[in-house]
């Protein structure tokens, strides 16, 4: 059973109201939600607030989630993006009232959703973590160190063909994750 099948089980149990599935979803994706929020809001405390809002909101709104049409992670990231946008707007309001500044001086961030590129990076980092070794190590050698597949094979004492197929499978999975959950499209 691949990770996707396991995720689908969690998603279905979540939709059905199984509280243990909520805990499992939290275990699996709270870090992702938190990271996306922290990258956008620049504050771990605000990211904590967003994470709470997202999981409480997701549980209460689970009737609106269809596990056969969307991944639970995708749905949670979608809720997170709304919550992050709200947090940005709340900050602007806060600035306006607290400092009583002329509204013209307050720069409305306008966006609110995390920058798409930042979201993509967080998603890719998360998926890379899910890959497991040796795929993850192989791709990191290629990404961070710019090694060719034959250098990687030598480095890890692995057959060329094995490295190649890990590169292909790993990249395909990362691409799929960006396609499904990513912001830039």
């Amino acid at each position: 059973m691949g990770p996707d099948a396991a995720d689908l089980d969690v998603a279905r149990a979540f939709r059905a109201g199984d509280e243990a599935a909520l805990a499992e979803a939290y275990r699996r994706w709270a870090g992702l939600v938190h990271t996306v929020a922290r990258r956008s809001l620049g504050s771990a405390a605000d990211a904590d607030d967003v994470t709470q809002v997202v999981f409480v909101g997701a549980w209460r709104g689970r009737s609106g989630f269809d596990p056969d049409r969307a991944r639970l992670s995708t749905w949670l990231v979608g809720i997170a993006r709304h919550a992050i946008a709200d947090a940005h707007r709340a900050r602007v309001r806060h600035l306006r009232t607290e400092r009583a500044l002329a509204t013209s001086l307050v720069t409305d961030p306008g966006e609110g959703a995390p920058a798409d590129a930042a979201l993509d990076r967080v998603l890719l980092a998360d998926e890379l973590d899910q890959l497991g070794d040796p795929g993850r190590t192989i791709l990191r050698l290629a990404f961070d160190h710019g090694l060719t597949h034959s250098q990687i094979a030598a480095e890890l004492a692995m057959p060329l063909g094995t490295v190649k197929s890990h590169v292909r499978r790993g990249l395909a999975r990362l691409r799929e994750r960006l396609e499904v959950d990513g912001g830039a499209r």
Binding site: G31, T51, F55, A117, L124, D133, T137, E155, K164, A172
Partner: protein, 277 residues
């Protein structure tokens, strides 16, 4: 003409232009499908290459689950933070040091090593993982998974053992159990012949599952690579160390439990591990 092998397309996306032969290159130039596939993968590679330390996954504070649990009135048995265990593991994996455990060196003759002593500056001794760890966060995550609790092992065993090397023994390792293998232990000894050939003698005390086998590895101190030395049959084995392998860098002795799945890679299920010193 046939499409270009997907393996090759992936390598092209990583910038390995030499991966494709002339006929493949010709095909690519005229095949929208293949070139679109490369372009899409290139975008993925660009994101992968842009990762920074800031993209390192972060963990919500324990207060968040408490608040979720209270706000939704969840069952009492779900009160524990689902992330509790994982974050503790992560801290162990990358933390500076752990409390030294009872160590084999305790009963060894000679001066007792001070648990808090800084790593030796002797050039022949590898420095602890933490100091050598590359900046990239990627490796800390790799450490968390591949190595699991190297921080613990390092804290406990990056000390010279009390026994002086005798004869042809040039380095020793005390192998400590990983959390999934409580009670396991082992020793390794690196021996050198006058002609320069080196052998690693490994002994392991651990419960034996019904299937699979044990494999002995030397892992680089920054976890960026590993070399398989062979299959450990029984509780002790002697393995040739490839000539030219720098054992001051490939300094972590690792014994893994491997499934019979035909996959030559490390299973990530390490039984014991320890640094050669």
């Amino acid at each position: 003409m046939a499409h270009v092998d997907p393996d090759i397309l992936a390598l092209l996306a990583l910038g390995e232009q030499d991966a494709v032969d002339p006929s493949g290159r010709e095909h690519l130039a005229s095949c929208p499908e293949c070139s679109a596939a490369v372009d899409e993968l290139r975008r993925t590679v660009a994101v992968g290459r842009s990762l920074t330390d800031d993209d390192q996954p972060s963990v919500p504070s324990p207060a968040v689950w408490r608040a979720v649990h209270a706000e939704l009135g969840l069952a009492p048995e779900l009160a524990a933070d689902p992330l509790g265990e994982r974050s503790a593991t992560a801290e162990l994996a990358v933390g500076p040091t752990a409390e030294p455990t009872a160590d084999a060196s305790v009963d060894a003759p000679g001066p007792a090593p001070a648990p808090t002593a800084p790593p030796s500056t002797d050039a022949s001794v590898v420095v602890p993982l933490r100091a050598r760890r590359p900046r990239s966060w990627a490796w800390t995550a790799a450490a968390a998974c591949l190595a699991l609790v190297i921080g613990v092992g390092a804290g406990a065993t990056w000390m010279r053992r009390g026994t002086a090397p005798t004869g042809s023994t040039v380095a020793n390792a005390t192998l400590d159990a990983l959390p999934a293998w409580p009670g396991a232990s082992g020793e390794a000894r690196l021996e050198k012949e006058p002609d320069g050939t080196r052998r690693l003698v490994v002994s392991l005390a651990a419960g034996v599952p019904d299937d699979g086998f044990r494999e002995v590895w030397l892992i680089r101190d920054d976890l960026s690579g590993l070399v398989s030395l062979g299959v450990l049959d029984g509780t002790e084995g002697t393995f040739d160390v490839p000539a030219g392998l720098d054992t001051t860098r490939y300094s972590l002795v690792d014994v893994s439990q491997e499934p019979l799945d035909g996959n030559p890679a490390h299973s990530s299920d390490s039984i014991v591990r320890g640094p050669l010193v």
